[in-house]
């Protein structure tokens, strides 16, 4: 077809021209693609490299190992138990159904447990570890190992879990741990930082209070993962740090005795060092076994605990509020003396009741005590005397003394989240809170520890301790640490504080020295709580009488041996208003329904000659303080004072790590 030269020429001309245009376009596009490659690979290389690493690297946090709790003598009271667990990675299982049926047989799982595991499996990814059992018995564990060749994909694992070897003994002090909840994560940055699924954190008690010390830090495994999140290989591993071991001031032996004494009763016992403020024991009854909470408590156990009328879930030592009853009387007496309202010689005739504006105020002793002076009134716990003393004193001055000695405020600032403040009433308090004026009759009953006044057992213990140490403020502590102040050092400081107080009262001393005294740490540390030390001495002596003299309310529980001799004050707190008719009947505690019975209280300190320990006992609906509570004190002081030397040894060695 070359015959038509012109056409052919035009055709070639067109195609060449157009080919040239296309070629030009090709060059442009080609350059564009190279430019794009350049911009992605050279200019933005860093950005995409980061993105690529973000794609492929995943960190897995390992659960941190929780710090342990030790008692004062170094015994583990909350430890980490090695537990046998059974894990399955569903992805690595050939026949999941078969495996589960075999396991059900071997582990003897019931249907509901079985269903639970299946449900759990369905809720997670196939490469995530499925924890079939968190706590296998040794028998189950060995059985699984025996059949392991048939159980492809099942992995028996050794893990750690919290254990409380003393079971119910430390429940309320330590609290317990359970899986971290949303609010735990929201409220605590450190938990959030160290959180891994299934992490157990403190829910209450010291486990919660010292969470940040106990929790430790995660180990971290870095893995390369594929697009589906499956781990391909481990890049590196950083070991975590175990949480701090915490040593408490508590003596397990005393704590155990407290538990025994309160067995089957509702109540609380606290024991405190009157100088250092060390909590020797602190028990609330009834208690429960915190180990039950570790793997999720069973429905039945939880129901039992929750519905127990004796309320085992409440830490009565710090969260139970009680009328102090007659145990407040030493403080009322002190307040009256300090304010010069009465003198020890002040005498009242007790006829069994006192009339005021047509209202009868009864003494516990129906026949009356006859003529009573202050010492006898404390010793025999004469209500009439204290009605009169309180009337003269007035509630506001009593409030001031009570607050000074630790009532109406938390003993531990924020250690126990459930700790209550209690209540010390005053005229202002009533006006502000109830909107009505104070009535004199209320002053009278406050004088015997009834009415509005409410205290926790620990507050009563602190009050007694601060009386027993001669009237100095102390700071309760529950954590034992190296180089803590010893009782001797604190005693010295108290002495200095007393000297300074005297100096400051001396008008002739220069204001310079006064100012210096004021700023001295010692002065601030253990504040003097009295005006006149003789008043304290008088009250303590009267308490001795109450326990160690005939007619004393706790005479039956005395110990004559000077080494153990203690002084105390009984209390019987009325729970319900007693009608005139009931009073006629003179009902015994045992004849009344349980909820109507009086609370039995006792506060004491010992050894009397050289006091060191104070305690408070409350037995809910236990009847009278002298018959129920005081005998417990006798047993306790025996043990506490016997253990004293052991304790001193540990202090001398500056808390050796046992």
């Amino acid at each position: 077809m070359i015959s038509d030269g012109d056409t052919s020429f035009r055709k070639l001309n067109t195609i060449n021209r157009r080919m040239f245009i296309i070629s030009a376009a090709k060059v442009v596009i080609f350059t564009g693609i190279i430019a794009r490659l350049f911009s992605l690979q050279i200019n933005e290389n860093k950005k995409y490299l980061t993105l690529s690493d973000k794609n492929r690297l995943r960190e897995w946090k390992l659960p941190p190992e929780r710090g342990e709790f030790l008692d004062f003598f170094g015994n583990t009271i909350a430890g980490n138990l090695k537990v046998y667990q059974l894990h399955i990675v569903p992805e690595q299982v050939e026949d999941f159904k078969y495996l589960m049926v075999r396991l059900k047989d071997i582990l003897d799982l019931d249907n509901s447990q079985f269903a639970k595991i299946i449900k759990k499996k369905n809720s997670q990814k196939p490469w995530e570890t499925l924890v079939v059992s968190e706590n296998l018995s040794w028998e189950q564990f060995s059985k699984v190992n025996f059949y392991l060749h048939e159980l492809v994909g099942a992995k028996p694992v050794l893990s750690v879990a919290r254990s409380y070897p003393f079971k119910e003994n430390f429940t309320h002090v330590l609290g317990y741990v359970a899986q971290a909840s949303e609010s735990d994560l929201a409220n605590n940055e450190i938990i959030k930082k160290n959180h891994v699924p299934g992490l157990r954190v403190g829910k209450i008690g010291l486990e919660k209070a010292f969470e940040n010390d106990l929790i430790g830090s995660n180990g971290v495994q870095r893995y390369e993962v594929n697009a589906f999140g499956k781990r391909i290989n481990q890049i590196d591993f950083t070991a975590g740090k175990k949480g701090k071991n915490l040593r408490l001031t508590i003596d397990t032996e005393v704590q155990k005795l407290c538990n025994e004494l309160l067995k089957d009763k509702a109540g609380s016992i606290s024991v405190m060092d009157i100088y250092t403020g060390d909590i020797i024991a602190m028990h609330s009854s009834p208690s429960f076994d915190p180990n039950l909470f570790l793997y999720g408590i069973s429905h039945k156990d939880w129901k039992n605990i929750r519905q127990d009328p004796l309320k085992p879930l409440i830490n009565k030592t710090v969260a139970g509020l009680y009328s102090p009853g007659s145990t407040i009387k030493p403080l009322v007496a002190l307040s009256a003396l300090e304010n010069d309202v009465i003198s020890p010689k002040f005498t009242v005739r007790c006829t069994g009741k006192m009339e005021m504006y047509g209202q009868n105020y009864h003494c516990w002793k129906k026949k009356g005590h006859g003529y009573m002076n202050l010492r006898n009134a404390i010793k025999q716990s004469c209500d009439t005397y204290f009605y009169e003393a309180a009337r003269k004193l007035g509630v506001d001055r009593l409030e001031e003394t009570s607050l000074k000695f630790g009532l109406g405020k938390k003993v531990f600032q924020d250690t126990f989240i459930d700790e209550k403040k209690g209540l010390v009433p005053s005229t202002k308090w009533k006006k502000d809170n109830l909107g009505i004026g104070w009535v004199l009759g209320e002053t009278l009953i406050t004088g015997i520890g009834q009415g509005y006044i409410q205290t926790t057992p620990l507050q009563l213990c602190l009050m007694t301790a601060q009386l027993a140490n001669g009237g100095y403020e102390i700071y309760p502590r529950i954590k034992a640490e190296k180089n803590q102040e010893t009782a001797e050092q604190i005693k010295l400081k108290m002495k200095q504080a007393a000297v300074q107080k005297k100096e400051n009262e001396n008008e002739t001393i220069s204001p310079v020295i006064k100012a210096r005294n004021f700023f001295k740490v010692g002065n601030k540390d253990h504040k003097v709580l009295y005006r006149n030390p003789e008043n304290i001495k008088f009250v303590l002596e009267a308490m001795w009488g109450s326990t160690n003299e005939v007619m004393g309310t706790s005479y039956g529980s005395r110990i004559d041996d000077k080494k153990y001799q203690f002084a105390g004050k009984t209390g019987t707190a009325q729970v319900k208003r007693i009608t005139e008719r009931q009073r006629e009947l003179e009902l015994k505690a045992i004849d009344m329904p349980y909820e109507d019975r009086d609370h039995a209280l006792y506060v004491a300190f010992g050894p009397y000659k050289n006091p060191r320990y104070a305690l408070s006992i409350i037995v809910e609906h236990g009847g009278s303080g002298s018959t129920t509570a005081a005998p417990m004190a006798k047993k306790l002081f025996k043990l506490i004072i016997d253990r004293h030397e052991e304790r001193e040894k540990i202090i001398k060695q500056n808390l050796p790590n046992i």
Partner: protein, 373 residues
């Protein structure tokens, strides 16, 4: 039909000597690169993809060499037949085709599962080249003479779109349009038809499958749904970008071996290569492709027959389009439509079609003095 001319009397050695060895070398190099890339997609072991790709490459490469000895007049004379056979396959596929991942594209030829739409990319060029070989330049723009080519082009496109396979149908359309352009079709037709295209766009989109619509939408905003439809583009860009200047190293492309990269055997093979060999590797591969395109154009420039010239220019442009569409796609410059990278991508039909295309070019080179009446 076969005229005895001087060129027919070429000896076997003369024929071999007149092969375009640079072109052959480049094709072979790209083939080797593709085999190693395939080995990398298999995670550094010779398994299914690698084996069949290597076998296909060498079988089809040899086939190309053999087909190169065919006189260019053979292709001219069978141009329409070639088209009709492939069209028949396409119709066959639309009735009895094998369905995979929601698309009925393949027919079972017992020894191979053939994807006729890939062959159509070459067949349409051969067919048009033959058609315009005879057409006078003054008749090209005659509307009456335009109806047949439009029909030739529309039928396969409709068939492929209905498979559905948007990517291949676009490439077929582009291949056909390139020939029309080179044949001298008036520019106004292109302007009018592109205007028509823009206007009809909304209607076309309404007929698209939901996944195709999603692809176009995600192209404009891939970050909108990073785990869904935008995932491929994002991961591809991360892979390429993280390659840097020299790449992460052979078999060390983390994006690829950790499965972040989708379709790494086929459409995203360049991404894998680029991640492992970086900017330098990518440019090297691009240069190889550029040489291929240039050598084909060079052959086109000195062949005597209009058929061979039109074919070479068109095929060069088509190959260039396949390459750039695929690369622009994985570089995030175009929406994701299924389009393989010639030679590199896994897939027998694509390899077969490409090699047939090359063999026609080679035949044009050997018989460059051949005149076709």
């Amino acid at each position: 039909m076969f005229q005895r001319t001087i060129t027919n009397q070429l000896t076997f050695f003369q024929k071999i000597k007149s092969f375009d060895f640079i072109l052959l070398l480049c094709i072979f190099l790209i083939g080797l690169i593709s085999c190693f890339s395939m080995y990398s997609t298999d995670g550094g072991e010779i398994s299914y993809h690698t084996k069949s790709h290597v076998v296909r490459f060498f079988v089809f490469f040899l086939m190309m060499l053999v087909l190169s000895f065919f006189n260019i007049r053979f292709w001219h004379s069978t141009g329409y037949l070639f088209y009709l056979i492939v069209l028949g396959f396409l119709i066959w596929a639309s009735f009895y085709g094998i369905t995979a991942s929601g698309s009925q594209r393949w027919i079972n030829l017992y020894f191979i599962n053939l994807q006729p739409s890939e062959l159509m990319k070459v067949a349409i060029i051969v067919c048009f080249a033959k058609y315009y070989h005879r057409t006078q330049v003054s008749d090209v723009n005659n509307f009456k003479n335009l109806l047949l080519p439009i029909g030739i082009l529309i039928i396969p496109i409709v068939l492929v779109v209905s498979q559905p396979d948007l990517g291949t149908s676009i490439l077929i359309a582009l291949s056909g349009l390139v020939v029309l352009w080179l044949a001298g079709l008036n520019i106004k037709y292109f302007v009018y038809s592109s205007l028509f295209f823009v206007v009809s766009m909304p209607f076309v989109i309404a007929f698209l499958k939901p996944y195709q619509k999603l692809r176009i939408l995600t192209f404009f905003n891939p970050d909108k749904d990073p785990l869904g439809a935008g995932y491929q583009i994002i991961q591809s860009k991360i892979a390429i970008g993280s390659g840097g200047l020299t790449g992460k190293g052979f078999l060390k492309g983390t994006q690829s071996y950790l499965d972040f990269l989708p379709e790494k055997h086929t459409d995203f093979i360049f991404t894998l290569f680029s991640e492992e060999h970086g900017f330098t590797g990518s440019v090297f591969l691009l240069v190889l492709y550029a040489i291929v395109v240039f050598r084909i154009l060079r052959i086109g420039s000195f062949v005597r027959s209009y058929f061979a010239k039109l074919y070479c220019y068109s095929f060069a442009a088509a190959i260039f389009i396949y390459i750039t569409v695929n690369m622009s796609m994985v570089l995030g410059l175009l929406p994701i439509v299924g389009s393989p990278l010639p030679i590199m991508s896994y897939g027998g039909s694509s390899m077969l079609a490409t090699m047939i295309g090359f063999s026609i070019v080679m035949s044009a080179k050997i018989y460059h003095k051949q005149l076709i009446s």
